[in-house]
């Protein structure tokens, strides 16, 4: 089943790809040396790379949100973004890691991407805070502790989200090394990309479609919700990393496709794992109900192949620096390790 679906037409997992270049969306897996090395290579330890980045990103986030007056709002914002004492409520920080990895792939310093990486988490948290509100999902908990509205009240949660959006832009502007090496023009492209991604045609569209019950409809709708809610955030992460590193149009386009694919892949695997009782609990069981387990597993294989094909494009030019990209794909599918004990809890 999984194999045969590789040859079936793509289920439109990625509707409306902005840059569908020469090679069709359907790139057969190229067995390059780098790809083979990826799974076995001792030279790259994704877990270590990821864990160290979580610490760096959280350092940025912590410094960007000191408790100052009015204390209540700043404390609510910190609750939404940062883990508590003892790392309760810890998050995997996948968008920032993808952003930094894309930037480093192209040979630019990590410092160019870190502020944007932290901003991605602020935007992500802002949309989660609003998504958890009583009028939406009415989620009493998030990452194993009270959601922001449960802890601070609904009014404060609305305002905390409203304040996290602008903080993200402030952070990018004040902390990105600009105009050197990141020019103002590039900085503006990054800001526009962030805003578009969380806006009415991006994540907000995904939340809206989810709200409208699109996941109960069919494969097309399910994939659209996954793409809008999760694919676009990952695409934005990779694209911002690329821009900040001064990528050319082809490299940026390729990293966009890679990001979008891996974002959907990651989420779909999450849903499969939760449906089969082996991952964290999620309420998106309707995704699986709509697709059916067989089809879902088929799409996972297709997305995996697509993501690796995009990574392959960089293998010849960048050698070992492409290894993180391959490793993410494998991790997204296999979840070979736990990042933090707390992050893995429901």
């Amino acid at each position: 089943m999984a194999l045969s679906s590789l040859f079936a037409p793509l289920p439109l997992p990625l509707p409306k790809l902005p840059y569908t270049s020469k090679s069709s969306r359907f790139v057969p897996i190229r067995t390059s040396a780098a790809a083979a090395a990826a799974t076995a290579s001792p030279s790259f330890d994704l877990r270590r790379y990821w864990t160290s980045l979580i610490a760096e990103v959280e350092g940025e986030l912590d410094a960007a949100m000191p408790i100052r007056p009015p204390e209540s709002i700043h404390s609510a914002m910190r609750h939404a973004v940062l883990p508590g004492a003892g790392k309760e409520g810890a998050a995997k920080r996948a968008p920032p890691v993808l952003c930094v990895a894309a930037c480093e792939l192209l040979g630019a310093p990590r410092a160019a991407a870190l502020p944007t990486a932290a901003a991605l988490e602020m935007l992500h948290a802002a949309s989660l805070v609003h998504d958890d509100l009583p009028c939406f999902d009415a989620a009493p908990t998030r990452r194993g502790r009270p959601s922001t509205h449960a802890a601070y009240g609904t009014d404060m949660a609305v305002l905390a989200g409203d304040a996290l959006f602008p903080l993200a832009y402030t952070h990018v502007i004040s902390r990105t090394p600009s105009p050197n090496p990141v020019s103002h023009a590039v900085l503006l492209r990054v800001l526009a990309e962030l805003a578009r991604t969380v806006g009415s045609t991006g994540m907000a569209a995904g939340q809206f479609l989810d709200l409208a019950g699109a996941t109960a409809l069919g494969e097309r709708e399910v994939m659209q919700v996954l793409t809008k809610k999760f694919g676009e955030m990952a695409e934005c992460s990779a694209a911002c990393g690329a821009m900040l590193a001064g990528a050319g149009p082809d490299e940026e386009a390729s990293l966009r496709r890679y990001g979008r694919t891996i974002g959907v892949l990651y989420e779909l695997v999450d849903d499969i794992r939760s449906a089969s009782g082996n991952g964290k609990m999620r309420s998106n069981a309707s995704v699986l109900r709509s697709l059916g387990m067989d089809r879902a597993l088929g799409i996972v294989e297709e997305l995996k192949a697509q993501a690796k094909a995009e990574a392959d494009r960089f293998a010849d030019k960048y050698g070992e620096r492409v290894l993180p990209l391959y490793s993410f794909v494998d991790y997204a599918v296999e979840r070979g390790f736990e990042l933090q004990d707390a992050a893995a809890k429901p």
Partner: protein, 356 residues
Amino acid sequence: MAAFHPLVASRVHLSPLLPAAAGPAAAVAAGLSFHRRRFSAIVAAATAPTATEFDFKAYMGERAVAVNQALDAAIPAGEPPAALHDAMRYALLAGGKRVRPALCLASCVVVGGREAWAMAPAAAVEMVHTMSLVHDDLPCMDDDDLRRGKPTCHVVYGEPIAVLAGDALLSLSFGHMASMDSYPPDVDPEKHPARVVRGIGELARCIGSEGLVAGQVVDLEMTGSTETVPLDRLEYIHLHKTAALLEASVVIGAIIGGGSDEQIERLRKYARSIGLLFQVVDDILDVTKSSEELGKTAGKDLASDKTTYPKLLGLEKSREFAEKLLCDAKEQLADFDKEKAAPLLYLANYIAYRQN
């Protein structure tokens, strides 16, 4: 923009406060008593200055049309999800005087920029303003069913869509401002990107947890408390809740227009004064006007036992304070080209003398 004669413009500057309409009372008044009378001119009926030299009404009308066009064009029409975009348009294109965009455009011109350079930021500040109203009206916040005589966004589209529409408007404001496609081709290619980055920084700071949101938070914390809010706290709320976005509008306009740091700071002071003035006048109107005259429920502040300037200072002292703020604002405009500063001068007068 309507050109006008420099001589006329200088008269605008010389006869700022006491409008001709104050008539006989002003004519007989002299010296200190004249000065004294000016205080009560603010928000006293029928003393609003009649715009003669500079046609303020036409100016605002033209800007509102241009801004509405820019707002209409900025929403990705035709792209799904339609209902979300409908909700954004419903809130954004519901009319309104477009005071914030007008301030942004005028301050771009006053420092020597072209008005068209500031149209995207002007649209952006209106999007932010609209977004703050949409979220403010939510049941968990102020719980208002009506805004400008129309059902509020959440009443028409439901609460979740109202939350999302607000978030999407906020994102759109930054995206619109950051995108180079939003600007005319004659901007300085060397300096413009840096100006836009700085402008976005101002916008983000003025509306975040140390700006607009801070004002809303402190206001929320005061509501429900039976204690009278002290004056400094009241000022904090207004400086953040209202003045911050006016400040952003003016400062961004000046940055995009290529103003010097000194000019930008002067205009910032101007904006803070008229921002506070806006609220003081609002409070005065609430106790002096009927619902009919206001177009909204009058006496609401009294009924809800809200702390206001008249409650803390008394009506006459509130008017004096308003007068002082108006003078402070005008002082900041003194060194600018008089012709170009006329819209800002009249905007300040408008805020001081409006009747609703």
